[in-house]
Symmetry: C5
Subunit: 325 residues, 5 copies
């Protein structure tokens, strides 16, 4: 089962001024990594000082700064200063139960999404991405992600990503996040098909809570992917200088994938409802069978028992016609 | 359970001319308080005479007049005169079963919303807000509200709110009202999860009315929040000089929160429907179990009883073959 | 129960040329009344000759002609001539099972609505209104209506209505018609709450037809009010010289009321569906209880009866081991 | 029950080039009739040669050519030539399971609709109409239709239709076709109400297939009328010189009728669903009653039977305490 | 049952860079065939070298290149080079679980659809089509398709297709693909009607899984056809020089067919839901019948058995009044 609770968002911030950063003290401390590149050169580092970010920004065509962990206010505010992020956006980064959305600020685009957690079965974490001039800045709740394929492509000097601007990098990252949903869907599809063949073969009351769990997983996935669809549709329409026309073609492809996920989720939902019907009707059937057995037994033996009882009467006709001993 | 009845609105006004003020004589008498401030100065008072309002309006950049209680016609009409409110708007303030809505009059914006009542579990009251040049005017049904965090921020000279205009104050107030829904949602979420684990563990007929209540609460919350969403969407689109572009960014954030609430409510609704299915299927199952026990007992012992009966027959072969004593 | 049948409209007109007036001979004969006024003067009369209408039109700023009863073709066609009404509109007036709608003809606006019948519990009648230059013309099926409050306001020289043009009068009339739905809603709300507490306390099969009736009433009310909403939305958007901007503000308020009614109807519908679920689940529960009692009794006494039967056997070991008497 | 099967359309044409005319050899042979008129003159004929059509077209203001039966390819292609019809349109005429639709070709408008078959209870046939300069051309599957009222109006020199152009004639024909649905609706309404009172009085398993049939009839009617609504909405919006503004007012009225039919169908559907609920709940109730009787009987007599059995034991205390004979 | 699994799309490509061609090594090797023609000449060939494609493109007005099988990367990339296809498009061709869609690239239109597989009962395969200047390029998963009727028409020198450009050919191919759905629909319709008459005659638990399968088939068909509808609607609106106005008329017709299929699927779905209700209600009925028999038997014979037991008591009044032997 998807482990997140359906909890409302603002754990700390209820009643707080907007733009306040309430850092969860139990969250992992931020781990910053830089991956900067141009068509010809590349540099990867875990900076000791955040000033190295400024340095990379000035020297490379594209700088990707990734932050794993949101547990330290100071680091976050310093990054905010370096990139000139809007307070509301940083608030959304830190409050980790955001609805996926995109926001266009003056000089950067901001996207919040949920990213399936690597390895874990159905867990997700909040993923935030800023796209600005010459940089992509990403925040994750915990270390470890589904973006290694993107990093590999950069390291291996794949021409399209190395020659592309930060908008192409942002697309490649979002595409990898969306692709990470497919294994989850495959898992749910397998569970559904297993459950279906089981219910068809031998319906049992233990299958109902499993179906209930499956439905909730579908519902949660839907909640994560549905707004992503709007986010990407917004990107394709957006007239921002941050996104080139060439990248929009790729974003459209990415958008098609979210539609495909939604289609699958819709189908799964229909199948899950059908399974419930299947289960209930087979329960009714079995009840019918049980009742028929009972009725046949009772119809045969209760009258026979009565006849046997008749012959067992100590009817003494000598005393009176309707005597009772 | 949410205590408001699902009653139609115009208790007094059916057939009355529009714009008529029918004051509920049992409502609390109005308590007026003023909180006026600019970037550098601040003044808080409970005015003895309503003329102090005029005075504050002229001296401060932003004046927030709050009225608790709607039980006195004269006070209300005098406030109407001071701020030049439209009759229809004031009628909506007094008739406290309005659907949340926003209305743009010539020189003020008018918003009606439902505000969760402080402390009470799921009770709400009507909250009306007027935004005009240099002032925010709010009306509540009873004293006590969820806006103390806003007041604190003003008093503590938080720069953003002190430097912002009345539109920023209006945003901050609306944001606080919407934030006040999150604890309610959390409460319902907890009740739902509790009920779910209980139904999974041990379904009982007493859970059905609880589920029924939960569904009604969800329905009522939906009725309160859904129109709020439209209200805020309208604000973001509005081309009024009363709302600056900078504040619109904040209002958009606020709008996102209402969408998030709607998402959660939708999810809760799905879960509640699933719980009903879960309950019914477990009831069917239990019935099946009971019937199986009955059938097994009957199938074994009714035939056995018949055989015992057979041996108990006083069959006297001497009289006749099929005699009956 | 709402008494109108769900009958298709064109009782007489199927296959007839459009614009044909088929007057129901059993309908009450038309009773014409005139209420003409300006800011300073007012005249009320039941004209003996229809020419008095022309006279009033020429002398007063606003003339309200009300026709109760649609049973006389001649009167109707004469009124048609006086006001220059479109044939299709008059056909709609006479065929009294119209769907509420608004139509903009060259020099008049035409509205059909259903008006709750005064006093009767849930009965409605067709109400038609023409708004033209200097006049409002209304048609009702039977005498007696919910518009007396409007008449009183005119007679009592309430400034807003006396100074307003015919568009304000039309608004006031429509507002009164919509307000007349609120008592109906209140009645249904009371019946729903009564039924709810009864079903929670003691479910009984006699409650199902009552719920069925309630659902039909809700469905009918929905059919009457839903198109009214569109009608009013159309008015607010309409760029007709017949409706001033000032009146549009009032019409918007009126439109909000129809939305509020629809909201309530939707809520009631949800509650009614919930009640059916509640009823069915309690029936299932009771069945379960009954079956449990049966099973307990049978499980205890059928085996006991068998044992008693065993001891009642006339087993004669002297004859043979498994003898049977 | 509506007799048409829910069959896919292209019986013959699957895989055939578009615009191919596959004439059903079993269809009735075409019967052509001409009704040509102007404000002053009229001519009705069953032409021996199709050239008479050309003649009528040249001499009269409006020529209505009606073709009953689609069973002869040659006649149809000659008519196609005379009027210059598009191949795709004629294909749609011949393949008689079209979805109702309207198509605007260069110099003619083409409408396909389903027309209730005269006399038959719920049967419909395909009805095609071409509107061009000076003519209306209609195709029906079989002779006999609901258009005699239109013909009568033309013959009786009703001024509106005689003075109107072919667009008014087309409107009058479509209006008659739509009006022909009202008796069908009335029939279904009567069946629904009969079934309702029967189910309320005495639910029986034979009512379920009747309800099932009713639901399918409603579904089919919906399939026929829903697209008609779009067709008429399209006409009202259409900027074609073939339709005058005056006729559009009438088409709008016609459009309102289709909305009214849809409203009724929707209501009927709701009622039908409610009836199923009613039936199922009364079945549950009856089961409950039966079970209660069984349980009461069993609870009283099984223990009593056990006691009687006790006294029937041949307990012989002389042999042993727990002897068994 | 439709054999495709509801599997997510990117089997190989999860995490791969976009535009990567992952060729399934088990897929059939590509078989290329050329059908080139103009109004007067035609040439059909299975080219040994792909250079023949370039040759045909230069010599003929329309060249249709069809590729059966996607199992060889080299062939596919060479074809990509010849036609200058976009990488993303070719990726979609190779990953064969695409959602049907259309994409407009700079100098070619790209369509993905699902094509019913010839002969097989409900199997489909992915079908991709490129429309460019002077050519139509199609890809299929396996040899054998429903396009022979199109080929025949070209060979038989049917003037419309021979004189038409590549856009008409593309239309003819899409039309044939959509037409191939009608037999599938007919098959499902027959199964539904068979199941319906069976359930009405003799409901049995074995019918539920059949109904479940039917519902899934309907759901899958819906998933294939619904996006096709959007694709065609997009074509009709498209302002591309690749599609002439004349062809758009035909595409509109094609679009109407997809709507008709959707209508039928919708109807089938309603019927399938109705069948489930029918089945469940007849199961309830039968249970009722069984219970009634049981209750009648029990009500008659249990009391009788008790009376017989009474007379069977060895009541010995000589010992004591309430003695027990």
């Amino acid at each position: 089962m998807i482990t997140e609770k359906m909890r409302p968002r603002r754990k700390f911030a209820a009643g707080a001024p907007p733009g306040t950063l309430h850092v969860d003290p139990n969250a992992p401390r931020p781990l910053v990594s830089i991956l900067a590149y141009g068509p010809g050169d590349i540099e990867e580092s875990r900076p000791e000082s955040l000033d190295e970010i400024r340095d990379a920004l000035s020297r490379f065509q594209v700088t990707w700064v990734n932050v794993d962990g949101l547990g330290d206010l100071e680091t976050l505010t310093r990054i905010q200063d370096i990139f000139g992020l809007h307070r509301l956006a940083l608030e959304d980064v830190v409050n980790v139960h955001q609805r996926p959305k995109a926001e266009l600020y003056e000089d950067h685009l901001f996207v919040v999404a949920r990213m399936p957690r690597l390895g874990a079965e159905l867990a997700t974490e909040q993923f935030s991405l800023f796209l600005g001039k010459g940089y992509v800045l990403t925040f994750q709740e915990t270390p470890g992600d589904c973006l290694d394929s993107v990093r590999e492509r950069i390291r291996n000097e794949r021409p399209r990503i190395r020659a592309g601007g930060p908008d192409y990098l942002a697309y490649a990252i979002l595409d990898a996040v969306i692709d990470a949903y497919f294994p989850l869907l495959e898992g749910i599809g397998d569970r559904l098909e297993g459950l279906e063949s089981e219910i068809l073969r031998r319906p049992h009351s233990s299958q109902v809570p499993i179906l209930h769990d499956l439905k909730r997983d579908l519902m949660n996935l839907r909640r994560y992917v549905w707004p992503l669809r709007e986010v990407l549709a917004g990107f394709v329409r957006e007239e921002s200088p941050l996104i080139t026309e060439a990248t929009k073609l790729y974003l459209r492809d990415c958008y098609d994938h979210t539609i495909q996920i939604m289609d699958l989720l819709e189908s799964y939902r229909d199948v899950a409802s059908g399974l419930m019907d299947l289960y209930l009707s087979s329960i009714s059937n079995r009840m019918n069978e049980v009742m028929k057995v009972l009725t046949i037994i009772a119809t045969i033996f209760i009258p026979l028992g009565f006849i046997a009882g008749l012959y067992g009467m100590n009817f003494n006709p000598e005393i009176s016609r309707w005597n009772m001993p």
